[in-house]
């Protein structure tokens, strides 16, 4: 298996194997257990209060930084992995206790509403000043009371310059004739419906029936050009199966790091109809056993030097002053993989959908795939 399997790339299907176990283990615990307000606002000093249990995407943090943290503070650090936000939520809902989690922005919104995140006092973080001020009051977490931003990402199209002709900088490149049958779409219903919404000139998060009807037609047309749906962009591109791949910006860094020859033939573009951008966070669940150690670890990651090491390793920009150079090196030849706070401000972000809106999107996805 490739050594650099990244967030969401690791098969979401693997999670399915856990469904049975989760059902069993939780008994009837899949129902809602909202934490109390008091559990959320307790004051936690940033000092070691035990070993650390991190819950993160696979291969989404430089393991060297974990090792150096453990050594510096003399604690043990363990890491558990999830492969999708719903699977992370399922584990949290069933009462598992993690000290530090990495939710995406739209899920932060939900976690805050459910009182599942501890309030973070930024004054206790010595490196808090390095966080971009853009994140002082983000849409998903008023006043940044519960979260510290981790990484920024964007969705676009990766392609092989030595195989494909006529790339136009549009989502229409997913129906490029010269690559017909060698095109993959992300196997992620949000990303798939999102790009089709943008291509039709709708809002990224459009859920009204008229828009979704058109978006469904777009997806059905795109399907005739596809070889498959997959989130394994890097292996698909490296194995020659994909010439064009709907992908995240970090995927390209990943592909190039692994390409044995001619890494420069792999290119990435963001599309003119609109660019889905996103960010994720570090946060401490309200039932964390060792929130003090977790705070120290967050502070550790905010150190510009540590952030730089992390960026070089995982390929995504972090909103931390002093870490820009590390990402600039990665993006030297590919400005398209850059994500700035302006992109976050101007680009489209996936919003949290209400259950019936989610259902409408899922319906479109099923109709396209069935």
């Amino acid at each position: 298996m490739e050594s650099h399997m990244r967030r969401r790339e690791f098969i979401q299907g693997g999670a399915g194997l856990v469904v049975g176990g989760a059902l069993l283990g939780t008994g009837c615990g899949v129902g809602e257990k909202k934490a109390s307000k008091a559990a959320v606002t307790k004051v936690v000093p940033a000092k070691i209060d035990g070993d650390l249990l991190i819950f993160n995407w696979t291969e989404y943090m430089n393991p060297g930084l974990i090792k150096s943290f453990a050594k510096h503070y003399g604690v043990k650090v363990r890491q558990a992995n999830f492969d999708s936000m719903p699977s992370m939520m399922a584990k949290l809902r069933s009462g598992n206790e993690y000290d530090l989690i990495f939710p995406t922005a739209d899920y932060v919104n939900r976690l805050v509403k459910a009182n599942m995140l501890l309030q973070l006092d930024r004054d206790k973080l010595s490196n808090a000043g390095s966080i971009y001020s853009f994140f002082d009051d983000p849409w998903y977490d008023g006043g940044s009371a519960h979260t510290v931003p981790y990484a920024m990402y964007t969705t676009g199209i990766a392609w092989r310059d030595d195989r494909v002709e006529g790339i136009t900088g549009s989502w229409n490149d997913l129906t490029n004739e010269s690559a017909k049958g060698k095109i993959f779409m992300l196997d992620d219903f949000q990303e798939a419906i999102g790009q089709a919404n943008l291509l039709n000139g709708f809002d990224l998060n459009a859920t009204d029936p008229a828009s979704l009807e058109k978006t469904k037609a777009t997806l059905e047309h795109q399907k005739t050009f596809l070889r498959g749906y997959s989130t394994n962009a890097a292996p698909n591109m490296l194995s020659g199966d994909a010439w064009i791949h709907h992908a995240w910006n970090g995927d390209l860094v990943n592909v190039r790091n692994q390409a044995k020859k001619n890494p420069e033939v792999f290119k990435f573009e963001t599309c003119k109809e609109g660019i889905p951008v996103g960010s994720d966070c570090m946060a401490i669940p309200s039932n964390a056993k060792h929130p003090g150690t977790a705070l120290l670890f967050i502070d550790w990651m905010l150190d510009p030097e540590h952030a730089s090491k992390n960026i070089t390793w995982f390929g995504y920009p972090m909103p931390i002053t002093g870490s820009e150079e590390a990402f600039a090196k990665l993006a030297k030849n590919d400005p398209a993989i850059e994500v700035s706070t302006e992109d976050l401000a101007n680009g489209s972000q996936f919003k949290e959908l209400a259950p019936d809106e989610r259902k409408a999107w899922d319906r479109v996805w099923t109709e396209v795939k069935a």
Partner: protein
């Protein structure tokens, strides 16, 4: 020794069934009657609408596709597995156990990991295509999905057939030959009927998990290989709709139960016929 003594040995098996089947299935039914919350959790209640949704004709082609793939898988497994079981049972000699162990060996590795290996092997610039010297467009087709299923479940076909062949008295074959049966006639009139229970058990053991499989279609499949397992998985880990996913699961199980009933009644009838 009384019957009561022997009945005690039923306890572990029964406990196992209750703990790992009855209880989870009860939870699944309870969830299937709930509704999803904003957090992606489950609000328990009585919401039969999930079942009305699950019976939507939209899913008919997905179910039909799953059944077709699973039937093809069972058929290929039988064609491949029977000769293998036959050779091991009849000609394995003192290597029998080693050969059966070899059949089981791949199961020590996770099915998911083994399927990933196929993705790498069959890729356009992968080992198989390089050895073939030309691009065989195998990956991301229905055939790749069925191939993955055959690979994943072949063992479940070989073992019961092997067991049936082992149980069979070899003298019966001798008797068939003594009565001037050609090898082919002896096989069809003696060996095949004797091993039919094993064959049917193998078909059930392969068919049932293959219908609900989602890994093969997700990793080896193309745009038109969506199976019922993928649909259910999407409800759990994409759409955050556990109640609907559970309702689909229950409907699928009810559907598969029909196959089981036919199988059980068939084997019961055979047992009675054999006296």
């Amino acid at each position: 020794v009384t019957g009561a003594f022997w009945r005690r040995f039923l306890v572990p098996g029964a406990l196992w069934l209750v703990l790992f089947f009855a209880v989870p299935f009860g939870i699944t039914i309870a969830i299937s009657l709930g509704s999803p919350t904003e957090l992606g959790g489950v609000l328990y209640g009585f919401e039969p609408a999930n079942y009305a949704d699950a019976l939507d004709p939209l899913f008919a082609p997905v179910l039909l596709r799953s059944v077709t793939y699973a039937a093809a898988t069972a058929a290929i497994c039988l064609l491949v597995g029977y000769p293998v079981a036959y050779c091991i049972a009849r000609y394995g000699g003192r290597y029998k156990n080693a050969l059966i162990a070899a059949v089981l060996l791949p199961f020590l590795t996770n099915y998911l990991v083994r399927t990933y290996a196929w993705v790498a092997l069959l890729a356009d610039e992968g080992l198989v295509n390089r050895l073939a010297g030309e691009r065989i467009g195998f990956l991301n087709t229905p055939w790749a999905v069925i191939g993955g299923l055959v690979y994943g479940y072949l063992g479940y076909m070989i073992l019961p057939i092997y067991a049936a062949l082992e149980r069979m008295d070899p003298a019966l074959i001798e008797a068939g030959k003594d009565l001037y049966g050609s090898p082919r006639q002896t096989f069809w009139h003696v060996t095949w009927p004797q091993t039919l229970p094993g064959v049917l058990a193998g078909i059930v053991l392969v068919f049932l998990p293959a219908v609900g499989d989602f890994i093969s279609a997700q990793l080896l499949g193309g745009p038109d290989t969506y199976m019922i397992g993928n649909l259910i998985q999407q409800q759990f880990y994409g759409a955050d709709n556990w109640p609907f996913g559970s309702a689909l699961t229950v409907v699928l199980m009810a559907f598969l139960m029909v196959f089981m009933v036919f199988y059980l009644r068939g084997s019961e009838a055979r047992r009675e016929a054999l006296g």
